[in-house]
């Protein structure tokens, strides 16, 4: 309204992205400004491609809405996104799923298909299978600290829409003679995706394996630049010069990632990181999950950031199928006394989401699940991994394990364990018009689209990519999700907003 008075010449338009919200319009109406907008439109963004094999809705509140507030609107949009996908890439003949939300999305897809019979198209299906997974089938994985290169960048600095902002000191260009007085103060912004060759090579590796790749790369690039001394003929020099931009790009890419790796190494070699990781791994391998943990208590006493504490206690709770009432009360009391009583509201949310709750059945299912699905692998090889557990240096993400077993040998072999995980599991088939039924050639991979309802981590993405490039894997994976998350952003979305709303 103020703005309007100031500049009566201005037209105001409002563009709702990704979709208009009646709630929003209602509020605008109440404020008396709804009519001031000349255009009220929505720009529908359902699934946004983040990379060649990655799609995200970037719906931050999807998990909270679905699991805390029983509002499944974001699932409706996920279904719509999938319909669009099918319109472009062909009907997906097989749908598998695990979880309440998965079931809901599948039902909506089938219904939407029925209601728009004209959408039957004649495109050869690109995807053989769709796997819908509820985030709450695997609450453990996002809580653990990711150990892939990209995962660590996200954990420490936070990747937003493929961009990361880094402390600028290590990126200042080294100029001879300048005493560093012109150090940049703006954080360094870098884009991270597979268009960058080096990044594509190292992003999904365990961080401990990145160093050797970088040093090998450094040698190759140095050698390439040395070539200029060997170039004798005009032809050779010309060839060298034509390669120059590519080599320069490679060198700058190497410089950037060497700096990033150094920044990360400072953190991963710190005592605190090591202590934190040790406790995480103890929990994940089933050690002492039923007692109050000393390290957690120490961290609370030293008033470490609350989200770190919450991640750890939730991890313990999930690895114990819920905490004993005494242990839970003890943690809650310490947290409330140290960080403030108002956090009762957040703790309540975490309980509702199943992350931090009392053990109800008196039974701890986690060891059975862990053993049957081989979630903890002692003999992990970080340099040359042979199993997806390398992404957490020992823990195989439950969600990815389920995808892996679905492809081979199929879920029938893990019926018992599946029943221990929340939500129904199901299979649906969608009719393909005759003539479009694909017969896979020998050696040709199936393509599976894995849709994580509630969020996915970069480590899980790395694990799926690992499966894709396995020699005799047989399946290639494309990943879709409601949001790219890490433990911190995920827990944050579940925390109660403690400042009063601005209006």
């Amino acid at each position: 309204r103020e703005d309007r008075g100031r500049s009566p010449q201005r037209d105001f338009h409002i563009l709702f992205v990704p979709r208009r919200s009646l709630l929003c319009e209602q509020w605008l109406k109440e404020q008396g400004v709804l009519g001031s907008f000349i255009h009220r439109e929505q720009y529908s963004l359902d699934l946004i491609p983040f990379d060649g094999d990655l799609l995200s809705m970037e719906s931050e509140s999807a998990f909270k809405e679905c699991y805390l507030e029983s509002d499944q609107t974001s699932l409706y949009h996920a279904a719509k996104g999938l319909m669009t996908l099918q319109a472009l890439y062909g009907t997906i003949p097989q749908i598998f799923g695990k979880g309440e939300c998965a079931r809901h999305v599948a039902n909506m897809m089938i219904r939407m298909k029925r209601e728009f019979p004209g959408s039957q198209n004649s495109i050869f299906p690109v995807f053989d299978t769709l796997l819908l997974l509820d985030r709450n089938v695997d609450l453990l994985t996002p809580l653990a600290t990711q150990l892939t290169y990209e995962g660590l960048i996200d954990e420490i600095y936070g990747i937003q829409n493929t961009y990361v902002k880094l402390p600028p000191e290590k990126f200042a260009p080294k100029k001879q003679g300048e005493g560093g007085k012109d150090l940049p103060t703006e954080p360094k912004k870098l884009q991270l995706n597979s268009a960058e060759e080096l990044y594509a090579e190292i992003r999904d590796k365990n961080f401990n394996a990145v160093g050797s790749v970088l040093s090998k790369k450094a040698k190759i690039i140095s050698a390439a630049f040395e070539e200029r001394h060997h170039a004798k003929t005009v032809g050779e020099i010309k060839q060298f010069v034509s390669q120059l931009p590519h080599m320069q790009a490679a060198r700058s890419s190497l410089a950037n990632h060497t700096s990033i790796a150094e920044l990360i190494k400072d953190i991963t070699t710190s005592e605190d990181f090591f202590d934190n990781l040790t406790v995480e791994q103890e929990f994940m391998s089933g050690i002492d999950t039923d007692k109050v943990n000393n390290y957690i208590e120490d961290c609370i006493a030293q008033k470490h950031p609350l989200i770190k504490i919450l991640r750890l206690v939730c991890l313990q709770s999930v690895c114990n199928s819920g905490l004993k009432q005494k242990v839970l009360d003890h943690y809650k009391r310490e947290i409330l006394q140290t960080y403030g009583y108002e956090h009762i509201l957040t703790l309540n949310n975490l309980e509702k989401a199943g992350l931090l709750k009392p053990q109800t059945s008196g039974r701890n299912n986690y060891p059975t699940i862990r053993k049957t699905l081989r979630l903890w692998m002692d003999d992990v090889n970080e340099q040359n991994p042979n199993d997806i557990s390398y992404v957490y240096s020992g823990y195989a993400p439950l969600s990815v394990r389920l995808a892996q077993l679905l492809a081979r040998p199929g879920w029938r072999s893990i019926e018992e364990v599946l029943k221990m995980l929340p939500g129904p599991h199901f299979e649906e088939r969608q009719q393909l018009p005759t003539g479009l039924q694909k017969k896979r050639q020998h050696g040709e991979n199936r393509v599976t689209l894995v849709f994580f309802l509630g969020g996915v981590t970069y480590a899980e993405i790395a694990a799926l990519r690992f499966l894709s490039q396995m020699e005799d894997g047989g399946t290639e994976y494309v990943i879709a999700t409601t949001k790219l998350i890490n433990g911190t952003s995920w827990i944050k979305s579940l925390m109660e907003k403690l400042e009063p709303a601005p209006f």
Binding site: G35, E69, T73, Q337, Y341, E499
Partner: protein, 466 residues
């Protein structure tokens, strides 16, 4: 139907009839996209050729005197001063997309001046408002899902409304469900609404979410109470305290929360929250007074950086150990009083007191924390936390080496002890430990870590030579 131009000075005598004709719009089924409106000159209204003709022949006039009843979707435009050309392509597309609202028109009225207008290529009205009376609940929901604004007013009977709601829920689009709920909330008696929602879980969840977002606290609480979701009522009400800035009012509010149906554990936390704030108010008033009058030395030396109000319990304890350490248990601000009132465990208490006294460099107080007299009268040092933690905290506060050393000596695990001693340069401890371990090699190696000619070096030498 015909439209009249808005040039009042030419047609002012026809205002009445103009209004009458234009209001015919309400009666006519305007939803028919096929009907084209044609102007006097025979061009379809809204077409480019028509707009060119109109602007060419118009004189300056404004949209004065139009009241809201006329503006429903009619294409209005302001004629231009003759000098300005309106035939440029861009001008044909500039202009306003009329929405049937009064505010919009008033904007048009106020926004006079040189503005390129042409009646833009108007979108079919069907896009914006639904005037038909015939859409079934199912179809209404469909249209809403596609973003069309529908009037729900004609769903008068309870039956109709419920069918509409069920259709909306079946359609899964949250926006539509919310829209229907807003309508029902407005047009149904509360008891009926609650009763019907009780058996419609999805719609219920949407309404609760909506009430939370819009801050309609009272209605939300009534609903939750009706559903017997007592704990949620309690938590929801408690949440409101965050909106109260004034401490006294907040304190009162928290007091009121105590009787609410929280779970047993949570009840004690809420009670503590109230008690804590109550204490903090007293302490704050008192300390502010001490500060301003300059009576107390400690406040002079270490002026407070922030008020203690609304701080967590442990922070309050630290504050109390810092500024009020020596006070007797009877006062509200004494640490021992806090410990007792809130049942703070020994571990937490000792850690906090240690941190506070170490910051003040009150090493004697630190000493006293760990000294206990046993029944024989001998003093002994023990701690509910490992002594390595004590050392860490002391070191962080730059305790002198002599003090550090004393506590390093008390660390039980030899390896940790050695590590800490080496790290913090507690030479005597290192030397003594190596001596006790009879480790000549390490002892000799350690010589290079001490200053030449220092007492430590001598000590090493004398041990080695024996």
């Amino acid at each position: 139907a015909f439209t009249f131009d808005d040039e009042d000075d030419e047609l002012s005598q026809l205002k009445e009839s103009k209004r009458a004709v234009n209001s015919l719009r309400d009666i006519v089924d305007d939803d028919d996209d096929d009907l084209e409106r044609v102007s006097w000159s025979g061009e379809p209204v809204g077409s480019i050729s028509w707009s060119i003709k109109e602007t060419a022949s118009s004189s300056t006039s404004l949209l004065e005197g139009r009241d809201s009843s006329l503006q429903k979707g009619s294409s209005s435009y302001a004629a231009l001063p003759k000098q300005v050309s309106s035939y440029s392509l861009s001008s044909l597309f500039k202009g306003r997309n009329k929405l049937p609202s009064f505010q919009c028109l008033s904007d048009a009225l106020s926004d006079t001046g040189v503005k390129n207008y042409a009646p833009e290529l108007r979108r079919p009205k069907a896009e914006y408002k639904d005037y038909s009376s015939d859409w079934s609940p199912k179809d209404t929901v469909r249209r809403m899902q596609r973003g069309k604004v529908c009037s729900l007013e004609r769903f008068r009977s309870l039956q109709d409304k419920l069918v509409l709601l069920d259709e909306a829920v079946a359609g899964h689009d949250g926006n539509v469900i919310t829209a229907v709920l807003i309508f029902l909330k407005r047009t149904l008696r509360r008891e009926i609404l609650f009763r019907e929602l009780e058996v419609r879980q999805v719609a219920l969840c949407h309404l609760i979410h909506f009430l939370k977002e819009t801050g309609e606290q009272k209605l939300l609480l009534d609903l939750l109470r009706f559903l017997d979701r007592t704990e949620e009522v309690a938590l929801s009400q408690y949440r409101e305290h965050l909106n109260i800035q004034d401490v006294e009012k907040r304190r009162e509010f928290l007091k009121g929360c105590i009787g609410l149906p929280f779970s047993a554990e949570d009840t004690s936390h809420i009670q503590d929250h109230y008690t804590l704030l109550e204490r903090q108010i007293i302490i704050e008033a008192n300390d502010r007074h001490l500060e301003t009058t300059g009576q107390s030395e400690i406040f002079r030396k270490y002026p407070r950086k922030a008020s203690i109000l609304n701080m967590p319990l442990v922070t309050t304890l630290f504050y109390s150990c810092f500024y009020h350490y020596t006070e007797a248990e009877g006062t509200f601000s004494s640490p021992t009083n806090l410990k007792k009132t809130f049942k703070i465990p020994d571990k937490q208490y000792v850690l906090t007191a240690l941190a506070a006294r170490a910051k003040l460099r009150a090493w004697d107080d630190v000493d006293a924390l760990f000294t206990t007299k046993n029944w024989l009268g001998y003093t002994k040092k023990k701690a509910p936390i490992g002594f390595h933690r004590v050392v860490e905290i002391l070191q962080r506060n730059n305790a002198p080496v002599q003090v550090l050393q004393e506590y390093v000596r008390l660390v039980e695990d030899v390896e940790t002890q050695l590590n800490l001693a080496t790290k913090y340069k507690c030479h005597d401890v290192v030397i003594e430990t190596y001596r006790d371990l009879k480790d000549r090699i390490q002892l000799t190696a350690y010589k290079c870590k001490v200053e030449r000619g220092s007492a430590e070096e001598e000590k090493i030498n004398s041990i080695l030579n024996n």
